[in-house]
Amino acid sequence: MAEYSAMIDDHTIRGTSTPEKDKMLEVKGLKTYFFTSKGVIPAVDDISFTVSRGRILGVVGESGCGKSMTALSIMGLVPPPTGKIVAGDIILDGKNIASLTEKEMCQIRGNEISMVFQEPMTSLNPVYTVGKQVMEAAILHQHLSKAQAKEKTLEMFKLVGIPEPKKRLDSYPHQLSGGLRQRVMIAMALICRPKLLIADEPTTALDVTVQAQILQLMKKLQTELDSAIVLITHDMGVVAEVCDDVTIMYAGKIVEQANVFEIFDNCLHPYTAGLLKAMPAFKENGERLYNIPGMLPNLLQLPKGCRFYPRCECASAICAEQEPDLVEVGQGHFVRCLKYRG
């Protein structure tokens, strides 16, 4: 059977400093709020991060932490009328796309940035063939003829490993399994060779063996296509498998940011530590799991001070009063906690 080799592959650990030209996406001070009848929900509150060419950034957090909304904000798909980007820059390959009009954004979406969603079962239109749905993006953005687009779709289907690609062009979504649908989604996302791919929990709805295939595929495509990938997930296992950099979110804010080895070896924020310690994978049968007490705060009634303090074991009196900033504690390692304010 396969032995898990504990070897560290040298080229997987790349430098953390990013040359300016390699920056594919830079998000600066992004704020996306929802204005509801019950109050303002700061779903994404002052988020900044950078993704470079050829790297995978993992955005990690629990439900309601704002990770999906961050993705939709980058895509310009925040659901109106309640949701709104209230501040921040989104710089894609040197161009600020946060200030674009809806019409201009339509030329970016699916072309320079594309997205893969969590539910492959519901993310494809049930009344059209998958071939037609994949072709649509190529016809729209690259102005190909139908025949050319079909050719290209076939090529993409082969690339993402869909068996019998020719036959599959004419299949309807309900005729495909979850794994195949997710491959179709990936083919659709990549057909215009985007600069940035956002994958929102792409494997959560899939079985373990299929999840492994899809993750493997994403890693393979990342090296082949040389684009940047933002991978949104709640699963630290998935992060460990594919991500280069990690951003941990809690209640709309980034609490920690570093490369993947720093996060696993040397995490500093109590929430990150709690997330890792709570994973049963690190425990032997019989040992008690670590609990993060309490539960996620209601974004309508956020505590004053640090958003994590009510659940934090290291909290002191000042945490209830003062909201910490995100500070750089090591090279490329940022933490939002008063313990590390220098």
């Binding site: 399994s177 492994a212 994978a281």
Partner: protein, 323 residues
């Protein structure tokens, strides 16, 4: 190991879809196909497998929620499908269920006190003050504040709802709890709270768990023994640690191998990945159900169905063995 608490014998559940009259189609889904399984007192037996392998059907057969096509389930030696009305009532007190979806498993129109108290009123064990006291006791047990008694389910978070579900299951002092993916809908930080609670309750009341999950690290943490299912059949059964460290059936090995490991330094480990998809359980091929995807397939696998046989304290349904 204790006494056998519940045991399935040649248990089968086939779903037949004839497509109505005037249709030549006849699909048989062998959701549970000839399953022999025993659960011992005070142990945690985990059931793993991918979607559509029959995990939920098996759980629902064990609790008499579905009628089997064939075979029996014996609880303390008696077949639960041929019990008298009175004995069925007793059985329903001793076996309880914890559901996957904390949102769907609680009636949104009932107060928490009524939800947790329903088993008590159904079996006429308590009412009025005695019911209220017992509900308070149960809420305390699962870590819910008794002030929440008069609230409705939508006023709780997912984790709290799962606690309500557990309190309801404990109301009748059951011996066996069937947990159908109890933590898969929960966030990581809440998941560990519920797993700890389940462990505590087992220690406190000597409960027996039949624990269904697709999350292998949860299974490894919770289980004493593990049962691996593939397309309605048990392919491997045995001690949890042994199965994780030294799987015998190729499918088990692939399953273990596919699970992500939360250690970035192991990411480039050599790993074998299964090709293709989880096959459909409709009209499965003859022979070993895994043969279409198995890299070690031999002629015999396509023809003859392997039996679940004893391999040094473990059971495995493969003509060969990985060791």
């Amino acid at each position: 190991m204790g006494e056998i608490l519940i045991q399935s014998k040649n248990l089968k559940k086939y779903f037949v879809d004839t497509g109505g009259w005037l249709s030549k189609r006849k699909n048989t889904v062998k959701a549970v196909d000839n399953v022999d399984l025993e659960i011992y007192q005070h142990e945690t037996l985990a059931l793993v497998g991918e979607s559509g392998c029959g995990k939920s059907t098996l759980a629902r057969l064990l609790i008499n929620l579905l009628e089997p096509t064939d075979g029996e389930v014996c609880y303390k030696g008696e077949n639960i499908f041929s019990l008298s009305a009175e004995a069925t009532k007793q059985f329903k007190k001793q076996v309880q269920f914890i559901f996957q979806d904390p949102y769907a498993c609680l009636n949104p129109r009932m107060k928490v006190s009524d939800i947790i108290g329903e088993p008590l009123t159904t079996h006429k064990l308590a009412n009025g003050t005695s019911k209220e006291n017992r509900v308070e006791e149960l809420m305390n047990l699962v870590g819910l504040r008794k002030e929440f008694m008069n609230r409705y389910p939508h006023q709780f978070s997912g984790g709290q709802r799962q606690r309500i579900g557990i309190a309801r299951a404990l109301a009748l002092n059951p011996e066996l709890l069937i947990c159908d993916e109890p933590v898969s809908a929960l966030d990581v930080s809440i998941q560990s709270q519920i797993l700890n609670l389940l462990k505590d309750l087992q220690g406190q009341f000597g409960l027996t768990y039949f624990f269904i999950s697709h999350n292998l690290s949860v299974v490894r943490y919770m289980a004493d023994r593990v049962c691996v299912m593939f397309l309605g059949k048990v392919v491997e059964l045995g001690n949890c640690k042994e199965i994780f460290e030294q799987p015998l059936h190729p499918y088990t090995a692939f399953l273990m191998n596919a699970a992500p490991i939360p250690n970035p330094r192991l990411r480039n480990r050599e790993r074998l990945l299964l090709e293709g998809e989880v096959p459909s359980p409709i009209n499965p091929p003859p022979g070993c159900s895994f043969h279409a995807r198995c890299p070690y397939v031999q002629e015999i696998c396509r023809v003859e169905e392997p039996k679940l046989t004893d391999r040094g304290g473990r059971k495995c349904a493969c003509h060969f063995s990985l060791t």
